[in-house]
Structures are given as structure tokens and as C-alpha cells.
């Protein structure tokens, strides 16, 4: 390899680092001030690109000047900034005080809504953008041709960093952003208008995302998949740099840019994995990123969000459970479609239950639980299709596969807490997704594997339904038992106060690791059952959208409730299954539903039930008082 080739490679690494930084800086600033990890940041990036491919060609019709090109890019950024303001005023403002898991979900609702709106406005076809006038040529660097636009991009990153630095040091707005990043309560106590500050921050953050997207149009066509592909990169950059730190994001973007540029040369197929490995390595050494500050939350003074004190089932609970079980057994009396949906609900209920074992019982907010579900499915599917084994051993292998990968990833995950932990689970899920997606020879890539059928005795839909029912119900009962057992109690204790758990002799990290592994194994079992119910598997079983589905289910059921996850999975899947065929805009519908759920039922169905009982008691009291008053009247 020539050294001039390496130089060009390094330059292209710098160019992509610049693009990464422009986008990620907005995410990190928004997180610093609002403490919300904004999934919709990727949507802003995508919108920036779409707006730019719409207005820039229009502007260039007047005059093909570079100035108009960049005016169009800037205008796109500002337009997206305005959309950020809309999001802050309409949504974020209402959820600053809800637990971070719900905030994440609500912003993911926005992602779904934007996806559908983009499809409505621009259609599903990729839209290529115009190239920048004056920057269309190549520059020769020691015989190697290098695009001028990429060279220009290299300077954009440092320029944005410098502008942000000036903003942060020399304007009142910037000083407030820095102050709020350090201590939000103090800024509020000093009488700063928080609403204005947060709105302004969202404008800045969204505009930076829009700028990042708009700058890409000469390189990549605007497409409806940009949002999720870029948000993972942005998360990785902000987490490696330290959430809330702009210079940290710059440093991390530089590292990742170079890693990608040279990683391509050495390991062409697994650059994505390299990036995530870097992230895992950084987080193990510096749990708050390169330049991040530790979160100051050692012991709790408020009740944790999650399962409090699990009790034995009361009479109503027993009756409900018996009814649910009867319904599961009676489903084959209805039509085949009901059986299909019923089997799916059972599988999803187990997956959701295993997730709430982590989230509700352990306070471990995993954002990539679908990974273990999917790996279980692939574990079973590969044994059947590649090794020619029958269903029975494959179903044993499914939880082993899910558990093994959960043990591997969990080893790193449990070293972190809070939002860093959530981001790392997401990152590992994306690694697994990328490997399954790209390793075509083994996994079949995008097409997945077909021919994952049950053994002959279980081939009929009804028999398989009963098999699934037996396995999932047994697994849920066992997991519930674990929640009531010393192990489950220990996880709750560690969630409530890690210093106290440590001081009574509990190895907190090891217990959380075992808990993570157990939940992964249960999810893997669910994945295996799912594979045989469908006959085929594909990479979406490991994807972010399915992880979000699981989270929505436990949120809908109520994470403070032990069996709420089962109810949540049932309702969620039934509603989704009912509405999806009715509309082309199920994403819009689902997004709005998730947001409505966070706003209206922040404590899920179980919480709503308690509220309803309280409401009824209140009405009853009011009524009695009214009647007494009426009786006293002559």
C-alpha cells in the first residue's frame, strides 16, 4: 500500500468524521440540557436531506452559483430547526419529568410519524440531490483523485465546532446551555426561563441535524431509511465522546471516521462491528465516555419506577389468569387466524415478560432486547436448516443461544447504568443485526432463512399452538417465581440502592449480569418458538423496531406490574394486528399511539386500572356527600 493512498484514506475519514460531528453535536447538546435522548434526531437529519433535495435544485434554477447552493443548505437547516421547536413545544415539554425509558419511547414515536409523513410527502423512491456548483471536480493529492466536496466537508466540522465554541462562550444563550448541562435544577432555581432555553436548545439541535442531512445531498440520495441508520452512528459518537460534551463528540467523530476509513481496508465486512467494539472498549475504561461527567445518582431518595413489592396473586388476579389461560386453550375452537394470532401473542408475551424482568424488576433498561429474541430464532433456525436437526434440539438451543449472547454482551452492559446502559444495549443489538444482515453465506442476509418447520407431530397449527402455550406459560410462571425468589429480590435491592446492596455483601455487578443472561435466554426461547411458528426468519427479528415493540408492550402493561407485560403484549399485538391491514399508515398510527400512551397512561394499563379504581372511589365519595347534603335539605 502506498502512503499517498493511505493519506487519501485518512482524508476521507476526516470528511466522514466532519459529517458525523455536525449531526451528533446537536444530539449531545439536546441531551445535555434536556436529559432526553432524542431518537427523532435521526428524523431531523433525514428531513434536512429531503428539504434540501427539494429547495436546492429549485434555487439552482435561478443561478448555478455555489452561494445559492449553500443558502439552500442553510435554509433547510433552519427549516428543520423550526420543526425541532414544534416537537419541543408539542411533546417534549410534557415529558421532561417522566422516566427516561418513556421519553425514549415517545421520541421513537416521533420517528415513526416522521417516517410515514416523509413517505407521504416524497414517496418511497430515493431522491438524488444536485452536486455543489464549484465543488464538482476532483483535487489531485499526490496522483490520487479526491473529490473537492469531501475536502470542503473536512473543514465544515471544525468550523461548526468553532462556531459552537463562540456561541457557548460569548452569548447568554450559550452560557445557559453550559450551565444547564452541568446543573439543570440550579439554572431553574436561579430564575432562568427554562421553557425558552429548552425551546432554543431544540432549535439548535434540530438545525444541526438538518444541516448534517442537507450537507449530505451531493454524496447520498435522500431516502426513507436514513433516520435509523444515522441515529445509531450519532448515539455511538455521543456515547463515546460523553453525553452532553461537544468537544467529546468531535473527538469521538474523529476516532470513528479514521476507524471506518482504515477498518474498511483491513476488515471490509465488519466496519460497523469495529465501531461498536470501540464503543464497548471506551465505556469499559471510561463509563461516562471520553469527556463526559459521571451521573450523580448513587442512592435513591424517591421510589424507583418499576416492580415494588411483588405479592402473591389476589383473587381478581387469579380469576384473570385463569380466564386468560382458558382463552389460550379455547382459541383453536375459533378459526385458524385466531390460532395464529394467539400463538404470536404467547411468544411476544414471553419476550415482553423477560424484558420487564430486566426493566421493571432490575432497573436495567435494555433498548436492544430483540437481539436475544432474534439470536434465539437464528440459533434454532440454523440448526434446522444448516445442520439438519429436528425441532426439539433446536428449541433447546434457542435459549442457549439467546443466553450465551446475553452473557457476552451483558458482561459489558452491567458495568454501566442509566442512559449509557440503554445506549450500549442498543449498540450491541445493532452489532448483532449488522452481523446477521451482512453474513449472507450463513444467515441468508436480508432474505433470511426459510424452511424452519416444526417436527411432524407438531406440524398442525393447533398442536403447535398448544406446544407454544405449554412452553411459554411454563417459562412465564418460572420467571415470575424468580421475581419472588431471593434472586429477583436481590436485583430489586440493587436497583433501589447499589451502595446498600454492596454493603450487605451482594456482588451487584455479577447478579445483574446473571439476570441479564437469564432474560436473554428467555427471550431466545421465545425467538425459537417464533421461528417455528413462521417457518422463516429474517434480520428484522433483531432490529430496533422490534425492541421498541417490546418496550411499548411493557410500557402499555405497566412496568410496575409483574404480569402487566403479558397484558401489554396481548393488547399491543392484537391492536397492531387489527389496524395494520386497515391502513397504509400504520407507522403514523403506531407512533401516535406510543406518544398517547406515554402522555395519557404513563403507568400503563395496570396503572390506569389503579387510577380508575381511585377515580371510582372519589366519585363514590362525592356521590355519598351529595346525597347526605340533599337529605339535609328541607
Amino acid at each position: 500500500m502506498e502512503w499517498d493512498f493511505l493519506l487519501v484514506q485518512a482524508l476521507s475519514g476526516l470528511a466522514s468524521a466532519s459529517s458525523l460531528f455536525v449531526m451528533a453535536s446537536g444530539l449531545t447538546i439536546v441531551f445535555g440540557v434536556t436529559r432526553i435522548v432524542n431518537f427523532a434526531h435521526g428524523s431531523f437529519y433525514m428531513l434536512g436531506a429531503y428539504v434540501a433535495v427539494t429547495i436546492v435544485p429549485w434555487l439552482l434554477e435561478f443561478d448555478r452559483s455555489p452561494w445559492l447552493f449553500f443558502a439552500g443548505v442553510l435554509a433547510s437547516a433552519l427549516a428543520v430547526g423550526a420543526l425541532g421547536v414544534v416537537m419541543e413545544v408539542m411533546l417534549l415539554r410534557r415529558i421532561y419529568r417522566v422516566p427516561e425509558l418513556f421519553q425514549l419511547l415517545a421520541t421513537f414515536g416521533v420517528v415513526l410519524i416522521v417516517q410515514d409523513l416523509v413517505l407521504l410527502a416524497w414517496g418511497p423512491v430515493d431522491i438524488p440531490g444536485p452536486r455543489a456548483p464549484g465543488l464538482r471536480h476532483g483535487v489531485y493529492i499526490f496522483d490520487q483523485r479526491f473529490p473537492a466536496y469531501e475536502l470542503f466537508l473536512i473543514f465544515v466540522g471544525p468550523a461548526v465546532l468553532a462556531l459552537l465554541w463562540l456561541l457557548m462562550r460569548h452569548t447568554r444563550f450559550g452560557v445557559l446551555i453550559r450551565a444547564a448541562t452541568q446543573d439543570r435544577e440550579m439554572v431553574g432555581a436561579l430564575g432562568v426561563n427554562q421553557a425558552m432555553l429548552f425551546t432554543g436548545t431544540l432549535f439548535l439541535g434540530a438545525a444541526l441535524a438538518g444541516l448534517g442531512g442537507a450537507l449530505q445531498i451531493p454524496r447520498i440520495s435522500a431516502n426513507p431509511q436514513m433516520d435509523l441508520s444515522v441515529i445509531t452512528d450519532a448515539f455511538v459518537v455521543t456515547v463515546i465522546g460523553g453525553m452532553g460534551s461537544v468537544p467529546g463528540a468531535f473527538l469521538a467523530a474523529l476516532l470513528i471516521g479514521q476507524l471506518q476509513a482504515f477498518g474498511v481496508l483491513v476488515f471490509p465486512k465488519i466496519t460497523l462491528v469495529l465501531v461498536f467494539l470501540l464503543m464497548a472498549a471506551v465505556l469499559v475504561v471510561k463509563p461516562w465516555g471520553l469527556l463526559g461527567k459521571p451521573e450523580t445518582a448513587a442512592g435513591r431518595t424517591v421510589l424507583p419506577e418499576g416492580i415494588l413489592d411483588p405479592r402473591p396473586l389476589d383473587l381478581a388476579g387469579k380469576v384473570l389468569a385463569a380466564l386468560a389461560l382458558a382463552a389460550v386453550l379455547a382459541l383453536p375452537l375459533l378459526d385458524a387466524y385466531a390460532v395464529k394470532v394467539g400463538t404470536e401473542v404467547l411468544v411476544l408475551a414471553l419476550a415482553a415478560f423477560s424484558l420487564n424482568f430486566l426493566v421493571g424488576n432490575g432497573g436495567i433498561v435494555s433498548f436492544g432486547h430483540a437481539a436475544y429474541f432474534g439470536l434465539g430464532a437464528y440459533g434454532a433456525g440454523l440448526l434446522v436448516t444448516k445442520a439438519g436437526l429436528p425441532m426439539e434440539p433446536a428449541l433447546v438451543a434457542a435459549p442457549v443461544a439467546g443466553g450465551a449472547f446475553a452473557a457476552l454482551f451483558g458482561f459489558f452492559v452491567v458495568r454501566l447504568s442509566g442512559i449509557y446502559l440503554a445506549m450500549l444495549t442498543l449498540a450491541f443489538a445493532q452489532i448483532a443485526y449488522a452481523v446477521v444482515f451482512q453474513w449472507v453465506e450463513v444467515t441468508g442476509g436480508d432474505n433470511g432463512l426459510v424452511g424452519v418447520w416444526p417436527s411432524r407431530w407438531a406440524a398442525s397449527r393447533e398442536v403447535y399452538h398448544y406446544l407454544t402455550a405449554a412452553v411459554t406459560v411454563a417459562a412465564i410462571i418460572l420467571l415470575r417465581r424468580v421475581i419472588h425468589a431471593p434472586f429477583g429480590a436481590t436485583l430489586r435491592a440493587a436497583r433501589d440502592s447499589a451502595p446498600r446492596a454492596d454493603a450487605i455483601g451482594v456482588d451487584v455487578r455479577r447478579h445483574r449480569w446473571l439476570g441479564f443472561t437469564l432474560a436473554g435466554a428467555a427471550a431466545g426461547l421465545a425467538g425459537g418458538l417464533y421461528a417455528f411458528s413462521k417457518g422463516s426468519i429474517d434480520p428484522t427479528l433483531l432490529g430496533i423496531p422490534l425492541s421498541v415493540d417490546f418496550l411499548s408492550m411493557i410500557l402499555l402493561g405497566g412496568i410496575q406490574s409483574v404480569l402487566g407485560a403479558v397484558a401489554g403484549a396481548t393488547v399491543f399485538h392484537a391492536v397492531k394486528d387489527f389496524f395494520m391491514p386497515l391502513t397504509d399508515h400504520w407507522r403514523l398510527f403506531l407512533g401516535l399511539s406510543i406518544i398517547a400512551m406515554v402522555l395519557v397512561f404513563p403507568r400503563g394499563l395496570a396503572g390506569a386500572w389503579t387510577e380508575l379504581q381511585r377515580f371510582y372511589a372519589r366519585v363514590h365519595r362525592l356521590f355519598t356527600a351529595l346525597r347526605k347534603w340533599a337529605e339535609r335539605q328541607p
Binding site: R481, T490, R492, R500, A501, A503, V506
Partner: protein, 260 residues
């Protein structure tokens, strides 16, 4: 007989020397208080003994065994119970559940997957709660309790490990004066009865002088005085540090004026 020996413990935070060559010994069944102004290094010393902080230099020996730098869970298993400056309990558990959890941990049963945790060690937990006067509240969620009662529950949790040594970082911080005296009397009673050594830091001088067998005075990371309560009270250096030069003179003037 020496239970805890601390030998030249040193800890530095950046440029600040939080503890410098701190050495002391604590005998079986003895109550030893560490006092000193804010920022003197009391909590730092404490956390190095309890395992929450790793010292930069020096040794901690518990009943002849070197425990320097061991994590808190291992220090606990060697017979050290601890309470925190801001009480640390399991907020989602009941009062009884908190102590049961501590007993489950003490008996190393935390990895049991199928037993019913709520039914384990009930009697023992109730007995511990009885000793700290909280048995009547056993069924209440610990999050509902008054702070003084939370501190008592925390004491019961610490006692669940059958400790030889109790580490109590400002046991009465944040409590009403009447509650303070009662809690310290309770701790002293249990410690004397069972021969448990107690190392505690405290700002409340009444609690210190009423119950400590010996007192260490820590200022800017160094021990400037040690001895019985009477000796420490009479120490001119301690008077100077706590009252300042003018304060000491003012006190002397006041005494002369009172004497006539």
C-alpha cells in the same frame, strides 16, 4: 485485643490530600469516634475502611487480616456492618423485607431462583427489628417512615450481617435532637451487650462525649489529637481548631468574668 488496625492511610483527590498517614486502632467492643470540622477527611477515612474508596497508601487490618482495598461486599463478609451518612435502604421493600434481604445476603442465598423470599428468615428479621425498636412497623414500606426510623432500620440491616465491627458515618445526621440521643443510646447498648466495635463520625458533640470510649480529632486529613473524651476536651489544640484563637480567648474571658 485489637479488632481494627489502620496504618498510615493516605488518600489524595487531585491536589487535595484528604487523608494523610491516618493511623489508629480499635479494640473489640470499643466505641471510637472520629470528629473534626467539615472537609477534615472523616468520610474519606471511613470509606477507605469500608472499602468504598481504595487508599493511595497504608493498610487496613481487620482481626489480623489485611483488608486494604477490598470491595465493600467482601469487607461486609468479614464481619463489618455499615450505615451511611444519608441512610441507604431498599425503598421498594417493606421494613421487614429490608432486613430479610440483608439476612438472605448474609446467608449467601441471593442466587436462589425458586424459594419464596418473603418467607425466608422472618423470625430472625423480626428479632433484629425488635432490637432496634421497629418490630411494630415491620409491614410498612420503608419509604413511608420518618427519617429517624429509617436510620433504625438501617441499623437492623447492618446488624443482620452479625458484625464484629459497625461503621457508622454520622449516624444521627438529619435527625431531631431527641431521636439522636435515643439512637446513640441504642447503638451503645447493642455494642456493649454484644461486644461489637463501633467506629463512628459525628458532628453532634453530645453524642460523641456521651458514648465514645476514645476520640480521634481529624483536621485537614491529619490526626491532631486522640484520647479519652476528657483528654480531648482539655486539649488546647482541639480548642483552637474548633473555636479559633479569638474564640478560645473569648471563652477564657467569659470564664474569668463568670468566676468574678
Amino acid at each position: 485485643m485489637t479488632l481494627l488496625a489502620v496504618d498510615r492511610l493516605t488518600k489524595r483527590f487531585g491536589g487535595v490530600l484528604a487523608a494523610k498517614d491516618v493511623s489508629f486502632a480499635l479494640n473489640v467492643g470499643e466505641m471510637l469516634a472520629i470528629i473534626g470540622p467539615n472537609g477534615a477527611g472523616k468520610s474519606t477515612t471511613f470509606n477507605m475502611v469500608g472499602g468504598q474508596l481504595r487508599p493511595d497508601g497504608g493498610r487496613v487490618t481487620l482481626a489480623g487480616q489485611d483488608v486494604t482495598g477490598l470491595p465493600p461486599r467482601q469487607v461486609c463478609r468479614l464481619g463489618v456492618g455499615r450505615t451511611f451518612q444519608v441512610a441507604q435502604t431498599f425503598l421498594s421493600f417493606t421494613v421487614l423485607g429490608n432486613v430479610q434481604m440483608a439476612l438472605i445476603a448474609h446467608h449467601r442465598q441471593t442466587r436462589r431462583l425458586l424459594a419464596n423470599a418473603a418467607a425466608m428468615h422472618r423470625e430472625a428479621a423480626l428479632a433484629l427489628l425488635d432490637r432496634v425498636g421497629m418490630a411494630a412497623q415491620a409491614a410498612r414500606p420503608v419509604g413511608e417512615l420518618a427519617y429517624g426510623d429509617v436510620k433504625r432500620v438501617e441499623l437492623a440491616i447492618a446488624l443482620a450481617a452479625a458484625p464484629r465491627l459497625l461503621l457508622m458515618d454520622e449516624p444521627t445526621a438529619g435527625m431531631a435532637p431527641a431521636e439522636r440521643a435515643a439512637l446513640m443510646a441504642l447503638v451503645a447498648g447493642i455494642a456493649r451487650q454484644e461486644g461489637i466495635g463501633v467506629l463512628f463520625t459525628e458532628h453532634d458533640m453530645d453524642a460523641v462525649f456521651a458514648h465514645a470510649d476514645r476520640i480521634l480529632v481529624l483536621v485537614r486529613g491529619e490526626i491532631i489529637a486522640r484520647g479519652t473524651p476528657e483528654e480531648v476536651r482539655a486539649d488546647p489544640e482541639v480548642q483552637r481548631v474548633y473555636l479559633g484563637h479569638s474564640g478560645t480567648r473569648a471563652a477564657a474571658r467569659a470564664r474569668r468574668a463568670a468566676d468574678g
